[in-house]
Amino acid sequence: MNGRDLDRMNSVDDMIESPEQHSVRKLVQALPEESLSLAWRSSLNEKLLETAAAKKRRNRLNWILRPALGLGLASVLAVIVLFHPSQAPKSSTPDRGIESAIVSDHRASVLLGEVSSAGLNVNEVASEANPQEPDDGLWTDSDVQGL
């Protein structure tokens, strides 16, 4: 609250405490009090009893339903845990970067080994599959022997 607010509050206090305002206050205080009938009171009692009974019913229902709900949930969980077949891991090797690359290379090499017959080694099969020209154009030992 800053100074201006304080000043304003003080001025409002002063205004409220003025005799004119007090005279109005006395007038309002003199207003007759209105009272409620006994019929109103008994009607309220009935409604309160109904409310209390409804609340009691709801509480009783909750008292039964809550444990039942808990039991049901627990039994469902138990069934899932006990009887649901645990799934075997799809792959012994995790599908991750370098490990999977090594494994796949290994499998490819095994496959190549199986495909290649006796007399051919893996490198020869590979070279047969992808014949490569010597890229430097120089004579090799096999060329010399061929002459």
Partner: protein, 206 residues
């Protein structure tokens, strides 16, 4: 204790003993029906007096007052004791009155409340202390009631809670959910409006 003013009777209320009220509240929290009945007996007329002036129709006011106590009974376990039961009940009553007014699509109109140039005092004596000087008759009471009814709900609620129910500014602030400064300014405007209404009536009578 009751005092006669004109044809009407005004009861002067004694504040409840705090210890007995605390034990009553504790029993009400435990949904003790009898204890809640005592609470109803203690506050029903005060709540009705407030609601009656906030709601146009008397029957509707009686219904709203019942709703106030039913809500209080249902939610007493939530009553945290930070304010008095009276403040709490009036808060429920105020919100229900506002809800009812919204439902009825009754749009309260703000009236021009105060003319600063018009600062004359209303010459109305306090009949409780000087009964021989002025008799506040039923007609004047009717004028006051209609003056209160012509205010907006915001002003009306503050005026009734402060001047009629003797609630402190802080209590009203808690009950209505507005700052104390707002309570004071609304009280000033409400009284100024009523002063104007009564003054016009007295001038017409003269």
């Amino acid at each position: 204790m009751e005092i006669c003013i004109g044809a009407s009777r005004v009861s002067v209320r004694e504040p409840r003993d705090q210890a007995s009220e605390a034990s009553l509240i504790e029993r009400c929290r435990r949904q003790d029906f009898e204890a809640f009945g005592q609470l109803v007996d203690a506050y029903q007329n005060r709540v009705f007096g407030f609601v009656r002036r906030m709601v146009v129709n008397a029957e509707e006011a009686a219904d709203v007052t019942q709703d106030v106590f039913i809500r209080a009974f249902q939610n007493f376990q939530r009553f945290d004791g930070r304010c008095s039961v009276r403040t709490w009940l009036f808060r429920i009553a105020y919100h229900l009155c506002v809800d009812r007014a919204r439902k009825n699509v009754r749009s309260p109109q703000e009236v021009a409340l105060y003319d600063p140039s018009d600062g004359e005092a209303v010459d109305v004596a306090d009949c409780r202390w000087q009964p021989e000087q002025l008799v506040i008759d039923d007609e004047l009471m009717g004028v006051v009631e209609s003056g209160i009814a012509s205010m907006s709900e915001k002003l009306r609620s503050v005026l009734i809670l402060h001047d009629r129910e003797d609630m402190a500014y802080e209590e009203i602030s808690q009950a209505l959910g507005v700052p104390v400064g707002t309570v004071k300014s609304r009280l000033f405007l409400a009284r100024a409006h009523l002063q104007d209404v009564v003054k016009r009536y007295l001038e017409a009578e003269a």
